[in-house]
Amino acid sequence: MLKYILKRLVMSVFILLGVSMIIYFLIRLMPVDFIQDKINAINQGGATVSEETVNAMYEMYGLGDNSFIGILKGYFSWLGALARFDLGTSFVYGIPVADVIFEHMGISFAIALIATIFEFLIAIPLGITAATHQYSFRDYLVTVLVMIGISLPSFFFGQMLKDVLALKLGWFPASGLVNAVESNTGIALLIDYAKHCFIPILTIVILSIGARMRMTRTNMLEVMNSDYIRTARAKGLKESVVINKHAFRNTLIPMVTSLAGLLPSLFSGAIITEQVFDLPGIGNIALDAMNRGDIPFIMGYNMFLALLSVIGVLLADLMYGLVDPRVKLE
């Protein structure tokens, strides 16, 4: 078991190297130029920047040579810094990338975690009832409602909830993370956070229930038609035991697969929802960095997610061994 994990971790290093190389080359080939934007901004102020200064700036940021060799050099210098646990300094914020990520990660993670917990708590029971009452009114009702949820674009639905719950009814603040007027501390601050995060979390939960519910329903239906469920019924078990013990335990197996993607999704931030509610989450920051060509930040952020993905897949594989006795990890 330990040997298996170690082997997988060694393999992960090579995967991450490949991923980082691809991301770095893609970013360098993107048609965004942080330096040019900066110079344009200065030019608009009325000053002129000499050709020499511009070239010096390109050299300073390490973006001088855009040939293949130049990009390769840039990649290895990024990698060299990473080996010293240095993700570099963000072009836009001027502070270490790790600090930027750390600062904005918390809020995105909190929202995603709470939303995911509610998503599971709501979607799985709905999926089970829909499956056990297949083609009944209940099945159709649940399916139609969650389908509406899936189909709504988050910018539209988020805006709608904001409009109704915050602007019309005034129950919740419309945007931001803290109340700027009051200066709360301790528990009052937490309550303030909760109030601001309620609508964003509600939006994410409603939008994500559909997929998970459909998945649970499909898995459950497949399991409910299998021979061992018939055996369980033939034994004289009550229907509730058949469903909640014999059937549900087997639907966990495909569900574990989806857990692989869960870990990075908890940390990646909800870009559009954060935009709509003007939350200082990591998704919002990452989009901004992408638009402005903040290479160190994009690298740091994407590598962080890549690492989480690799760990997520490894954890999912280990989980298989737990939920399915037929899987042996070697």
């Binding site: 061992y228 055996t231 019924r233 034994k235 078990l237 335990r249 939920v323 006795p325």
Partner: protein
């Protein structure tokens, strides 16, 4: 009959769906109702029978129309007897057994009419007959798995892959004796595994199903059926998925156990050899109906229905020199929109004028031998 049921117009499909929905709703409501015990008590017509199936109709309401999988089946299972049910694939033998267990998959599959009287034994040891077809589904566990147990065709997939054999066996003990301790359940489970001839029951107890062979799994299934001390065991093609040597072992085991538990067996198979070896009575089914029933001696030495005769002839024997096996020409008729004449007419070599008439009734030829064929009616001679 020549109507091709695969091609239905949109209007017809909608019409069928509408009718099905109405009937299914009604039948589901009946199945899920709450009822007093007195509502489904019955009277056995012969107290020496353990099970009396009387004019059972089990239908599947499909998009193409109503499939009458079991269409008026009647037969009895006497106490301490083995009754073999034979017939080719799709003749309704499995559906009959599933109906007895009330395991027909709803909402499409429903018991439409008829009764299944079962001579149950209550806790005090007195006999009490229930009509299984009338029991609301919430009360079925009084009988299912308790007094009637079932062994399925597919041992490879009939055990839950994520629980150990021990967990699955202990469950049976806990259902019937909720106060049992873990140790008692384990002791009983190991005793059962030992009973079905598993060499190292302690090890199998802790194994997962995928660690056992097909024969071992079928033994586990049998031990699971025995754990509740049933009065009737339904074995639905218990040896079909197993190779011949294991088949013989499993059949020996079943026969041995029947005397041990002092119960009856309903053995479903399409293998006449197994029937000859195991059964006391034989029921021959064709296209959802019983066409001939009698003692094993009567069916094998004096088969009357042309279909039974054909079945006997198509059995491979060592004595004959023929290189090819006999087969009955033609196919089973389409189960949707069954006509009201003998279903075997198109394949029968002994057709008489009367065969173009209504479906033949059951004709008694001896106290135990019945056949549904116009050849043996009172006026058969004059017509033939």
């Amino acid at each position: 009959m020549s109507k091709n049921s695969n091609h239905l117009s949109g209007k017809e499909v909608r019409e069928i769906a509408k009718q099905n929905k109405k009937i299914i709703k009604c039948l589901e409501a009946y199945k899920n109702r709450k009822a007093e015990e007195s509502e489904y008590l019955a009277h056995m017509s012969d107290p020496n029978n353990i099970l009396e199936i009387d004019n059972l109709h089990t239908y599947f309401f499909t998009e193409q129309g109503v499939v009458k999988a079991v269409n008026g089946v009647s037969f009895n299972i006497p106490k301490n007897a083995t009754v073999g049910v034979v017939g080719e694939s799709g003749c309704g033998k499995s559906v009959t057994s599933m109906s007895v267990m009330r395991l027909i998959q709803g909402p499409a599959g429903q018991i439409y009419a008829g009764s299944i009287r079962f001579n149950a034994k209550d806790k005090a040891g007195f006999e009490k007959a229930y009509d299984i077809a009338k029991i609301p589904i919430s009360d079925i566990h009084k009988i299912r798995g308790d007094q009637i147990a079932m062994i399925f065709q597919e041992p490879m997939t009939s055990l839950n892959p994520v629980f150990t054999i021990g967990q699955q066996l202990d469950e049976v003990t806990f259902i019937h004796n909720p106060n049992a301790t873990k140790e008692e359940a384990k002791a009983k489970s190991i005793e059962m595994l030992d009973l079905v001839g598993i060499a190292i029951p302690e090890r199998v107890y802790n194994s997962y199903p995928h660690e056992l062979s097909g024969g071992m799994r079928q033994r586990v299934m049998i031990s699971m059926a025995l754990a509740s001390d049933p009065r009737l065991i339904i074995a639905d093609e218990p040896t079909t998925a197993l190779d011949v040597t294991i088949q013989a072992q499993i059949l020996d085991l079943l026969r041995e156990l029947k005397t041990k538990i002092d119960g009856s067996i309903m053995l479903i198979t399409h293998d006449l050899g197994i029937i000859a070896e195991m059964a006391d009575y034989v029921v021959v089914m064709y296209a959802g109906r019983v066409i001939e029933k009698g003692t094993v001696r009567e069916i094998f030495h004096n088969p009357l229905h042309p279909y039974t005769i054909g079945l006997q002839k198509s059995k491979p024997t060592l004595e004959s020199d023929s290189e090819t096996l006999f087969n009955i020409p033609g196919n089973v008729p389409n189960p949707i929109n069954m006509p009201n004449y003998c279903y075997f007419r198109e394949r029968c070599s002994k057709c008489i004028k009367k065969c173009s008439g209504d479906y033949p009734g059951m004709i008694q030829v001896s106290p135990t031998h019945f056949v549904a064929c116009h050849l043996y009616g009172e006026e058969a001679e004059s017509n033939g």
